[in-house]
């Protein structure tokens, strides 16, 4: 059940934007397609909705094949029984809030439209504004109407195309929670497309990271953050520092010769070029005079600059040829030396894959 995508390919003319991807969304699962713009995530979603026609590959919704070009099979969007929320909201300006929400019920010939509208508006907390025109609503309210409209006819599948990207930051946080809650209540599979890692990490049961039309990695949010397979994923999800390293004998060391202890589970000699990933929050940054615990990596660097952010100061520190971000509560002046300490297990080796290599590797 849920969604099943197999070997999906989408080309526009000679230009291929999706290179044979496969994934499933289980019943009731919230899955996010995450990636930079142009990675093919929205096209994938639109193929599932039936708004774009795939070139090859199959798509099944709840066990029923809805798209299979090889067998000349294509179920148009209005027969796929889905609810979709668009980036632009796409709330129809000539209809009231209630009429917008009633639309999917009336076109599907529902018997009790009024009850369906009341239910959907209640869920998104817009009951009081039912008779308003969209032009009288704020962006956040319009997005709620779009959400109510998407769920009104109880679709068997919910699709979200960057629904929060036009909202301001605070509204985005609130709506994020709301969407998660509604999806859990409805217990339907949901596929969510975004380029925002915070949204992906906070809402999803599972995240699929895409790049240049291919799936780079998929897993639950914790796994993706903690165990990214390559530099691209590490960089895209969360703040990341990279240290250029080289193998000398059985050891790894920085380009300036300092030895570096890395997470042994990642220390595989598979012939691919490696780079060390170090999250800013794993680094302890001190003045040289402060004594530091032993048994850890200890590097000396030079403070380049700092930004006061309130809870802490974010510093840029130069270690050899690499520049790292690190947080500290103490005041360090630019140009002064600093000591960076971190656990070996926080320093992971990942594939240092430029984009082209990532493609051939995962093809």
């Amino acid at each position: 059940m849920g969604i099943s995508v197999k070997n999906l390919v989408k080309s526009f003319g000679t230009h291929t934007v999706i290179h044979s991807i496969s994934f499933d969304v289980a019943d009731g699962e919230f899955v996010t397609l995450l990636g930079p713009s142009g990675c093919g995530k929205t096209t994938t979603l639109r193929c599932i909705a039936g708004l774009d026609t795939p070139s090859t590959g199959t798509i099944a919704i709840n066990g029923e094949t809805v798209s299979d070009p090889a067998n000349n099979l294509f179920v148009p969007p209005h027969e796929r029984d889905l609810g979709m929320v668009f980036q632009s909201y796409a709330v129809w300006p000539h209809l009231t809030v209630a009429e917008n929400v009633a639309f999917p019920l009336t076109v599907k010939g529902d018997r009790d439209v009024a009850a369906g509208v009341a239910w959907a508006l209640d869920i998104v907390g817009m009951s009081k504004l039912a008779q308003r025109r969209p032009s009288e609503l704020s962006g956040g309210q319009q997005q709620r109407v779009a959400l109510a409209r998407a769920i009104a006819a109880r679709p068997q599948l919910l699709l979200f195309d960057e629904p929060l990207s036009n909202l301001d930051a605070r509204l985005r946080d609130r709506t994020r929670l709301e969407i998660s809650r509604i999806q859990r209540e409805l217990k339907v599979p949901a596929l969510y497309v975004t380029h925002d890692q915070t949204e992906a990490l906070s809402m999803s049961d599972r995240v699929i990271v895409m790049e240049a039309g291919r799936i780079v990695q998929e897993g639950d949010p914790r796994e993706l953050y903690q165990k990214p397979v390559n530099r691209f994923v590490a960089d895209f999800i969360g703040g990341a520092n990279f240290l250029h390293v080289q193998r000398v004998g059985r050891q790894w060391q920085l380009e300036n010769g300092s030895p570096l202890a890395v997470d042994p589970t990642t220390d595989r000699d598979d012939g691919r070029s490696k780079i060390a990933l170090l999250r800013p929050e794993a680094i302890r940054l001190d003045e040289p005079s402060v004594p530091t615990p032993t048994g850890q990596n200890r590097l000396t660097g030079r403070v380049v600059g700092g930004m006061y952010l309130g809870p802490h100061v974010e510093y840029i520190v130069e270690v050899g040829a690499d520049r790292l971000r690190a947080y500290s509560r103490s005041a360090l002046s630019p140009g002064s030396p600093a000591i960076l300490t971190f656990d070996a297990c926080d320093c992971r080796l990942v594939d240092d894959t430029p984009l082209t290599e990532a493609r051939s590797h995962h093809a």
Binding site: L51, T53, L73, F74, V75, A115
Partner: protein, 581 residues
Amino acid sequence: MDRGEEGFRLETPAVRVRPNTIRRAAANGGVLIGLYVVVFAVVAFLALVPLAALVIGSLRDTSPGMPGQWTLANWANLVSPGVVETLLTTLAVAGLSTAFAMAIGTALALVIHRTDFRWPNAMTGMLALSFYFPSFILAMAWIVIGSPGGVINDILREFLNIESFSVDIYSVTGIIFVMVLHQVPFVYLTIRGPIMGMDPSYEEAARTAGASPWRMLRRVTLPMLAYALASSALLCLVLTLEQFGIPVLIGVPGHVTVLATQIYLLCRFPPTAYGLAAAIGLTLAAITSVAILLQRRLARGDRSVTTTGKAGKITPIPLGVWRWPVNLMCGFYIAVSLVLPGLILLYTSLIKFFTANPFDATFTFRNYLYIWNSEETQRAIINTIIVSGGGALVGVLLGVACSYYVVRLRPTGYRVLDALVMLPFGVPGIVLGLGLLWAYAYLPLPLYGTLTLIVLAYVTRFLPYAAETAGARFVQLDRSLEEAAWTAGASRLSGVWRILMPLSLPSLQSSYFLLFMAFFREISATILIFTASTSVLSVSIWSSFEQANWGFASALSILAMVLMVAMMSLLLWAMPGARRR
């Protein structure tokens, strides 16, 4: 879980409608594909038949429908001294009219929208009214005023006893004068948008850099409007090149011939030369098409005028000592283009024998009574209302269908459809009429002598406007508005009907209004294809004026304009969308 638990009364309302089983891709929107084929065929028929008939006609040595031989003589005759002279006259008249109309129209637009002129709204309203003043009625009024036996000469002779000086409207100058009066509102209306949409910060930057208001106009405003001005000038040139009503009424008695009237004369007066008329028609269409292609290229390349949408408050330029000269200029234009012609027609319609002195005149209502008693005239009025009301609807619907395919669905061959829709844009009305005349002499379709043929001609001529208006609206509407309807369970057709059409309604209404008004006063496309039973008001007015029945023609004109204003008000009241212009 405050609202959450309530949310769990999930079992209540919705009846699950299962999607139908598997469908083939082709089955999706079969109706739309079918309609596409029909629309494509209709548009191809409308656009290509008259042109193909003209090409064939230009190669025949007889009249339409007569047995004859193939010949190249018609094309050879294009370089005869008579035709060449007509061509040069046409270019001179169109060029000069455009130059004057551009100067006056642009000046008016700048005065109204850039200075502290006192009555901008009144002036805009008057200009819009005079935009709808039919060109051939304007020409008639000015013939009454300026012909050898007209008002001005009467005054010169009878009141001032001046014999040495007289005016004669039946001249090149007369044609240009009336054409300029007629084109000024068009120039104003096309320049107005770019002027109002201009980002005020460019002008403010010039002012803060120390430029005087007039220097700013010369160095910043006008150069920034260069594209808009050039594009307006080209369209104005096209309209003056194909203008028929003015040169036929003024030019024919004065022996001044332009291409459009020569086509008419060759078809209407023996010895007729339909083949040569066809060759001239194609030549004229080629000239106007080149101008239109140039205009489109210009319009596409226009990046100089930034319409930011936030049309900020612009500090108006103080007119100062120029206030009264400017006021006089505006008043003069409205007087000669609108008020004076209207009053003269009213006066002429109410007197028995023409005299410029109202105290010598015998007033009578007989002209109006004659309308009341003339079945022929009543039929013309009813025909006009049917053709304008129904024809405009057909035109708008066809335009909408074309735009939907060209802008939205883009099926195979949509570019061809786009080109076909735009093709009649370059074909002058008289040429289109001639094409249809040739076509229906050969085509085995019972259309000649029917109102349908007139509607066909009008729809063909104005389809580009209808399609462009609808297309501009569709481009503005985000695709996701329709996609949201599909994902909500609506078929493509239902999405068009329930989402796209309601959202485009204001544009469609304004397009209907424009077409209605254009159809109401159209004469050039009708003049060669009307018959006694399919005569329309414009033709009736024109033919009674041709028969020197000034009084009756004036009465009919007054009636036509009263009808137009009534229809305008009715349409504007019924269709709020048409008000935005």
